[in-house]
């Protein structure tokens, strides 16, 4: 598989693992948070934990847009889809995300709601064109990476003069969430985990560049390495973080120089800023309300804003109080520290955000890594 196999070479990986081992100081811990669920998935799927020294610990952050979507937003979407005039278009992995009381889009569809799985924003436009008598709502979700396609879709709807098309906007932003992990008031309650550096998501930076993290690295004194999602990318990024820590540096470094620049994709950024604006705050499942972390459509595009068009009311649903997602997302606790993990909370019956999609910290550990818990128990 060209452009992928090159980044999965075992020999190079073993060489990198050896270098990491040689360069880490056995007397100190190295705690790195990979913010993005894609990284968490790669670490688990390729078993990278087995290749790192014991004092290098990867902390799985909150960065899966599906996981962090609060139950209230799912409930809002279900209510919308239950209206007979509406066809709700969603990406596949949203279908199973739990709303309140076990509701989900998959169950709503089974009860008769017209919910269609789409693979791209263009599919939603096609459905709108094919069904002029219905109202088509696209459930937009994702970080900075998936926002430009939503912007392009709104432009296209405008160009085609589609009057039956709108967007339920749930786009969120990476840097404010990273900031929240380090300085949220919740830290007083759940404690703070020491994080020695961050692995930043490369796909986000292909759009926003590396510059937005510079303030973060400076202000919090934490190194950030923007990394790709192939396992060799991850290993190299970890080595770069180890070196920064050893040299007492806290800079933004770019491991993914094959696609990421300091300024990112100017045209995409322009499109996004033309159509979207910041929400004062947006609720993240597990993190709670995070200031200036979400986007909504500007007033000039209100006719494409499903929340305005259908008078949708914000619904707030409390997470299960026994769920430790808040602490797990911040790296204070591990999945196995949560008493719901693997008992009532499994990928089949997810209770909290970390178990919702395959990229969540708990789901990744359950699916790929839980044999290590038994190995550790046996060893101790």
């Amino acid at each position: 598989m060209k452009y992928a196999d090159e980044f999965r070479d075992k020999e190079i990986a073993l060489g990198l693992a050896k270098t990491i081992r040689a360069e880490t100081d056995p007397g100190r811990p190295y705690r790195f948070m990979e913010f993005c669920g894609g990284h968490t998935h790669a670490i688990s799927r390729y078993g990278l934990e087995d290749m790192l020294p014991d004092n290098v610990r990867m902390i799985h952050g909150p960065g899966c847009p599906v996981c962090v979507l609060p139950a209230g937003r799912i409930d809002m979407a279900i209510r919308l889809a239950e209206r007979s005039e509406i066809i709700l278009c969603v990406y596949g992995d949203l279908m199973r995300v739990p709303g309140s009381q076990g509701a989900s889009l998959l169950k709503a569809k089974a009860r008769g709601a017209d919910i269609r799985m789409v693979y791209s924003t263009i599919d939603a436009i096609r459905i709108a064109e094919d069904n002029p008598e219905r109202e088509i709502v696209f459930f937009a979700i994702g970080f900075e990476t998936t926002t430009p396609p939503t912007a392009v879709m709104i432009r296209l709807a405008e160009k085609k003069q589609l009057s039956n098309f709108s967007v339920f906007c749930n786009h969120v932003l990476t840097p404010p969430a990273m900031q929240n992990i380090l300085e949220s008031p919740d830290i007083r309650n759940i404690g703070r985990v020491e994080i020695d550096g961050f692995v930043g998501p490369a796909h986000v930076s292909t759009i926003i560049g590396t510059a937005p993290y510079e303030f973060f690295a400076e202000e919090f004194g934490k190194p950030v390495v923007i990394s790709g999602f192939e396992p060799l990318d991850m290993m190299q990024a970890i080595l770069m973080l180890v070196r920064q820590v050893n040299e007492n540096r806290h800079e933004v470094e770019n491991q993914y120089s094959r696609a990421v620049t300091r300024d990112g994709n100017l045209r995409a950024k322009e499109e996004v800023s033309d159509i979207f604006e910041l929400r004062d705050q947006f609720e993240w499942r597990g993190l709670g309300p995070v200031p200036y972390s979400g986007l909504k459509l500007k007033r000039a595009y209100a006719r494409y804003d499903a929340e305005v068009r259908f008078g949708m009311n914000e619904l707030c649903v409390d997470d299960n109080p026994a769920c430790e997602c808040g602490a797990i997302l911040r790296g204070v606790k591990k999945p196995v520290d949560c008493k719901l993990f693997g008992t009532v909370c499994t990928p089949e019956t997810p209770m909290g955000s970390c178990m919702v999609s395959s990229e969540g910290a708990c789901a990744a550990h359950w699916t790929y890594g839980r044999f290590r818990d038994h190995q550790q128990r046996r060893a101790s």
């Binding site: 598989m1 992928a4 999965r8 075992k10 990986a13 073993l14 693992a17 894609g38 688990s44 799927r45 390729y46 078993g47 990278l48 934990e49 087995d50 290749m51 847009p65 599906v66 990406y91 596949g92 992995d93 949203l94 279908m95 199973r96 799985m117 789409v118 693979y119 791209s120 599919d123 979700i141 994702g142 970080f143 990476t145 998936t146 796909h203 396992p231 499994t346 990928p347 089949e348 999609s357 395959s358 990229e359 789901a363 359950w366 699916t367 790929y368 890594g369 839980r370 044999f371 038994h374």
Partner: protein, 346 residues
Amino acid sequence: MKAYQRKLDIRNGCVDLSHGSGGRAMAQLISGLFHEAFGNEWLARGNDQSAFDVGAGRMVMTTDGYVVSPLFFPGGNIGSLAVHGTVNDIAMAGAKPLYLSASFIIEEGFRFADLKTIADSMGEAARTAGVHIITGDTKVVERGKADGLFISTSAVGIVPDGLDLSAENARVGDRVLISGTLGDHGVAIMSKRQNLAFETEIVSDSAALNDLVARMVEAGGAGIRLMRDPTRGGLAATLNEIAQQSRLGFHLVEEEIPVKPGVAAACELLGLDPLHVANEGKLVAIVAPETAGAVLVAMREHPLGRDAADIGEAVADDHHFVQMATSFGGGRIVDWLSGEQLPRIC
């Protein structure tokens, strides 16, 4: 009676409710289309059932429903799939499949031409596998009540004396063999689904495995502990199922598991794992270590086992985990798929 029947307009006609009503139209459909495609001495007698001779050995029986979408895909269609899938369920017992039944639930408006193509490929698949479709049923439902066509097939076969393939036979140290590349069928189906027009040359691996199984049994005999075809849920589901039933664990080696580059690339694009993707012409065999080499050679000599591989071994494990050494150098679990396999957004 046949003289009073008009010929079906296969090219332009379509199924309507009268074709399921039990009247003349239904008889016309059955004789003009299904009997034509499946033609054999048992069907020709025109009874509501078929009597057949049974040879020595234990009988096995299975049944399966086919609701695949799209109905036509690269490398086959719902008809050939309905024969292959059920023949394979019989073959996994080490048995020789003999007779099949086929039940059709057809949505009104379904084109005769498509139905003929499907029935013809069922007939051909059955002839190739050496089985006979000897009884069947036809129902027509109103438009909107079925996705074009559903097919159910059942089959019976005979297990030779002295052969007893079952999960509880598996032992620590047994080898895990697979007959070829994984995920071809699932990716071929996905490539033709609405809204997902990615270009791939992958065709379904749909095939009847009874002949391959006969060669394996010849080479390995009772050294073959059990066989399964990794259909829905893929290899991951199959091995987890065997692990639970045999109360063992499995250690796999990712580098040894054959996956076509096109399948790997499509899975990468959609965020799927080839180990979870469906197969329709592959089998997994758990084989005693001393027999595994001979069985593997026999598999590779057969056209349906050309890419056969030894991918791991059975181990003692109280948790019945299926673990895998990744080709990258780490380790991971190969778990059951959770819910339906859904593409990720990023």
